[in-house]
Structure formats: C-alpha cells, structure tokens
C-alpha cells in the first residue's frame, strides 16, 4: 500500500466525501419533493441517510485502491473474516442491483454477450463482466481488487464468474465451499468448513499485508451479528397492521447488511431505521395509505420494476410485508457467536436459504405467511437465478394445499428487462388481484 494513496484516501474520507455528498444531497432533496404517489404513505426519513452511506461507500471505493486491500465479494461470503484484515469490500451483486434499478442491465449485459457470454448466464454476472470489460459504471469507477472472495452457498455460477475475474486480472481467488444442506448439518461438514477458514488466514495475511488479530475478527462477528439482528427487527416491524414499510423499501434498505456487514455504520443505520419504524407503528402510520391486503414476495427483486410495482400494488391497497429474499440476511447470520467464532461462522453461512433444502424453504415460507398475516404470494421466477427459482411451482402448490394461500408466478429477470414482458405480467397480476379479491 503506498503512502500517497493512503493520504489521498484519508483526505477523501474525512474531507472530500462529506463535502461532495453534502452538495449532492441538497440537490437531491429539491428533486425528490415532486414525485410522491398519493397511494403511498409518507417517505422514510432515513432514506436520505441510506443514500448518503451507499454513495459514500462507492465514492470512497475509487480512492481505496492502493490505500486499503480491496476485495470483491459474493453476497453470501463470510466477509467478517475479511474485516479482520481491513479489506475494502465491493459487492458486484449489489452493484448489479444498482445498475438494474437504473435500467442499465441490458446495456451492460450486451457488452459481456459481445464477448461471448451467453444470455442464459446470470445477469449480475453479465453486468459485472460488462463493467470489467468496458469500465462503464454508474458509480464512477470500481476499484480493481487485490482479492476475489466467493462462496458457493448462493450458487455455482459465482465460481465460474469469479474464476474469469481471477484469470483476467491475475489475482488470487479464495473460495469458501459450503456443503449443501440436504437434511441436517453434521459435524464433519462443520469441520470441513472450519478447516477452510484456517487455511484462508495465511493467504489473507499475505494479500493484505496485515497480521490476523483474533480480537478484530471477533469484533466483526459481534457487529455482523448485531446488525443482522437489528435488520431482523426492522423486518419484524412489518408484522404491524398497517405495516410501516413495504418490501420495496426493504429491498433498498437491504444494501448495508449485504455490502457493509461487519462494519459499525450498518448497525448504527439499522438502529436509526428501527426507531423510525417503531415510531411509525406506535402512531399507526402505514407505508401505503390504505392497506387492505398483505402480500409476500419470493426471490430477488425485479430491480427495474421496484418503483412501478410499488405504485401498482399500493394503488390497489396491497402491501408486501414479507419476502424470503430480505429475510435471508436476518435468518442465519445471527447464528454467529464470537465465543465460538469459526464454527458459528460456518453454520451461519452454510445454512442460508439457497444452500438449504426445499423443505426448509417451505417451512420458512409457512412461518412468514402466518407471522406476517399474509393473504397472497407473488413468486418471481428469475431467469438469472436458477437456485432460487427451482422448486417454485411445487412451493406454490404446497402452500395452496396447506394454507389456501393464492399465489402467482411472474417470469422476469433481476436486471435484464429483455427477459420481461409487461403485457404478460400484467395479465397474470390482474388475474391474481381478481383471485385475491374473491373473484370477479
């Protein structure tokens, strides 16, 4: 790490970022005042703070190269270990979602496709490869990593995707291999995962140039766990009727627990968000004006439709109050325990929804439906995400049989809207609305 880079990074962190963000923030406030829909409740005050945190994160990332060890990380990787070495972490999936929300999916995906990557490949991967090949990104610039850190607990695609990056940049890739949980997690699987952590430490020391300090790792675990629990409490406020936020808000407020897990800012942010939501519940403010039906979402968000869907459902008095997706970061990370760091980390990351059997997912959905008083289910069959989309037809049928919950499957993609058909989706959703309202 060079001294010049270090000085530049510190300068931007302490002076540059607050100044630039302050200016951008005052511009943003003027713009936002106009476009609020009548069917939506008052906006969350916290949103400005969230925007600030994420903008600052991507802004500072530009200056991290050379000043901090930089790692690109998959959303399900045990990042707490990296925190012990002060890695500046970039989450290509979070960046992909951001590109998707800004409707840049097809443009960036096509760059990867022009280089031979198939359209059936996950669009987060295609966006990321497109970004790497062209340098285009809405955040200005992504820092070139010193390390790639991937776990196959979310899918196998990340293995190939990150290998391509490692090959291209000739940088090390560390993989955390999590045995799939077919039935229950046995001790041999835990030992296998702990052994991997032990092997990673010398590599991480070499790449970062820093010595592993247990205390720092335990602090990261404690923070990661506390943030995940705070996020869980944030989601739990949506059990209230009316719910103080919609899942579309939660999709956006999810960013810190994904990208900044194990850092103090995340815990601090969720505590602020939590108190705002609790205040809303105590005075009966709902996220939508007239909450008549409560819905659950399955799978990753359709990023380019978040705003449209938020309006479409709110106009009909329908509010999404739960999602398997947002719940994923509250469900298992809280298993982390600094008194037994390695084993608990292995458990927390190998039992995530996508590395777990379908029966587990069914039970989880049943629980969420009951706890959040859900009336109907919207299932997004995502072209990009095969591990999340497989089994959805069975889940739909079983939930109908067991709980009499009406549901609809919409076929789309997380960011590539070339795989989305407005008319077909509209017909399916309208038929679902008719069924929810008890027939025509």
């Amino acid at each position: 790490m060079s001294i010049a880079s270090e000085i530049r990074y510190r300068f931007m962190k302490d002076l540059g970022a607050p100044l630039i963000l302050g200016l951008a923030g005052s511009k943003g406030k003027r713009k936002r005042a106009k476009s609020r829909d009548a069917s939506l409740g008052p906006p969350l005050k916290c949103s400005n703070r969230l925007k600030e945190i994420m903008t600052r994160h991507y802004f500072l990332a530009r200056y991290a190269e050379g000043a901090r060890p930089v790692a690109w990380v998959t959303s399900g990787a045990p990042v707490e270990l990296l925190r012990a070495f002060d890695f500046y972490t970039i989450y290509p999936e979070n960046h992909g979602a951001l590109c998707g929300a800004q409707k840049l999916g097809p443009e960036l995906c096509s760059i990867a496709e022009e280089h031979g990557y198939h359209q059936d490949l996950c669009s987060y991967a295609r966006i990321d490869l497109g970004v790497c090949l062209s340098g285009k990104t809405p955040v200005g610039r992504l820092p070139k990593p010193d390390l790639l850190f991937a776990s196959n607990n979310i899918c196998q695609t990340v293995m190939y995707w990150y290998r391509v990056l490692a090959h291209q940049w000739k940088i090390p890739l560390i993989v955390f291999d999590t045995p799939f949980n077919f039935d229950s997690l046995d001790q041999s699987a835990i030992n296998y995962m702990v052994r991997q952590f032990e092997e990673m430490i010398p590599s991480l020391e070499r790449i970062s140039g820093k010595t592993f300090r247990e205390k720092k790792f335990e602090d990261a675990l404690r923070l990661g766990k506390a943030s995940a629990m705070a996020w869980g409490e944030v989601l739990a406020t949506m059990k209230a009727v009316p719910s103080p936020m919609t899942i579309f808000d939660a999709f956006v407020h999810l960013a810190p627990i994904v990208s900044l897990r194990g850092l103090p800012v995340t815990l601090e942010y969720y505590n602020v968000l939590l108190s705002e939501l609790r205040e809303r519940v105590s005075i009966g403010i709902g996220a939508i004006v007239n909450e008549r039906k409560r819905l659950m979402w399955d799978n990753i968000a359709i990023w380019y439709k978040v705003r449209d869907f938020s309006r479409l459902f709110a106009e009909r008095g329908m509010n999404f109050v739960a999602a398997t997706y947002t719940n994923a970061w509250a469900e298992t990370i809280s298993y982390m325990d600094e008194r037994n760091p390695m084993e608990s980390l292995a458990k927390a990351y190998s039992l995530v929804i996508l590395n777990n059997n379908l029966d587990h997912r069914l039970r989880l959905m049943e629980r969420l439906i009951k706890e959040y008083q859900v009336d109907g289910l919207v299932i997004h069959s995502a072209r990009s995400c095969k591990p999340y989309s497989v089994g959805q037809y069975d889940l739909k049928r079983l939930l109908m049989e067991r709980l009499g919950i009406p549901s609809v499957i919409i076929e789309a993609d997380i960011t590539d809207f070339r795989a989305y058909s407005e008319e077909q989706t509209k017909t399916r959703l309208e038929a679902f609305f008719e069924a929810l309202e008890g027939g025509v």
Binding site: Y393, S407, E411, A419, R428, A431, E434, A435
Partner: protein, 260 residues
Amino acid sequence: MTGWVVGIDVGSLTTDAVIMDEDKRILSYSIVDTGDNSTDAAREAMALAAKRADVALQDSTLIVATGYGRAAVPNAGKRVTEIACHAAGAVHLFPDTEMVIDIGGQDSKVIKVGKGGRVLDFVMNDKCAAGTGRFLEVMSSKLKIPLDRMGDLSLSAQGEASISSVCTVFAESEVVSLVAKNCPKEEIVKGIHRSVVNRVWAMTRQMKVSGGVTMTGGVAKNNGIVALMEERVCKKINVPDEPQIVGALGAALLALREKG
C-alpha cells in the same frame, strides 16, 4: 328486448363478441380477425354480433371486455382478465368443470376452478410460443395443411413422428427435415400435436383436480389435440361447440353478474 349485455374478448389472433340476454341465452356471437387495430376489431366484432341478434349496440346495458386488447375496447363498462372469463364461461357450459385448459393464439393457460366458476389457481405458459396456437399456425403454413384439417389428418396417422425441440423455430427446422425424409405428413402433424400437448400437460400436472376438464380457446377445435390431451389426463374432456368464444361468453356472464 331489454337488459342484454355484451362480452368481448380481444385476443392476439381473433376478436370474439357474445350478446347475451338476462336469462343467460346467447343471442348471437361473432369472430373476426384482430388484425393490426384492436379497437377497430372490437367495433367490428360487436357490430357484427349486434346485427346477427338484430339489436342496436347502443341499447346494450353493459359491455365487459377481456383478452390482451381489453383496454382498447371502446365503451367497456368493465375489464376483466381472460382467466376469470374462461373459468366463468367453461363452468356455465359444463357445470362439472374443475379445470379449464385454454389454448389460445398467443398463450396457453390452465385454470383450477371452484364453485360458481371462481378461479382458485392458474398457470400460464412462459414467454414462448411452444404450446400455443401460434405454434400450430407456423407448422400449418410450413406443411401447407389448413389449420382446420390438421386434427382429422393426425387421427388417421399410423405412426407418429418425434418432434423433440420445445422451441417453435427449432421445431420448424425439425419438421423441414422430416419432410425431406418423406415422413408421412399425418405422422408429422401428430408429432406436432404431441409437442403442444406435452407442453400444456406439464402445466396441468400442477393442478390436482378430480372433476371435469374443459378445453377452451381456438386450439380446442383441433380434435387431434383433444384426443392426445384426453390420453394424458385419462378422462373425456368437455369441448364446447364453439370453444373460441368461451372467453367472450364468460365476459358476458360476468356482465350479467355485475348488473346483479
């Protein structure tokens, strides 16, 4: 005559209108090509049905529109999805209906129906022409066999050609190579039908029903497809005399219900 209603279904290939009196009797119906203007097609279909029933359209008490072009129907008092309409129409014609298989020009759907024609659940094909009327249309023009002859022709087949691709474009090239190998046309047609039925069958398996199965939509006119589907569901399938108008019929029934 007073109190009659109009149900109109603007689909991707045809636009169908049904005029119905208060006693749920069909006074007339019409089927016209949708063409390139849904509003014109809707006007034409309603005018034709009105003429056949000898009524003046402006005297109708309610127009309910359905189908992909439902937003384009002028003067519609209510717009409903074709899923609700096919369910209502099928149950009206065959009260034992518990599952509706609607294979239309652009999509296919399987609907699980409860009491009074209420939709309990449904699935639709994905963004692909396989398993739809469009698939048959493409094959009919490739083989130069009119659509309405394909059913009878396939029933006369001794064997059956295998069409393995689920993609319309690739299946078309399979058909070309079968023709080049002098495979009898009736066997190719049966293979094509099998491909459509397999595709739709995959959707029906998600709906467990014990009662009657009714097929609606233009493709139900193809007796070859109906026969293969009956083999698959292991029971006789109800087929309306005019399966193409079931959506419009359902819309008319929902119009009567709306009026109370």
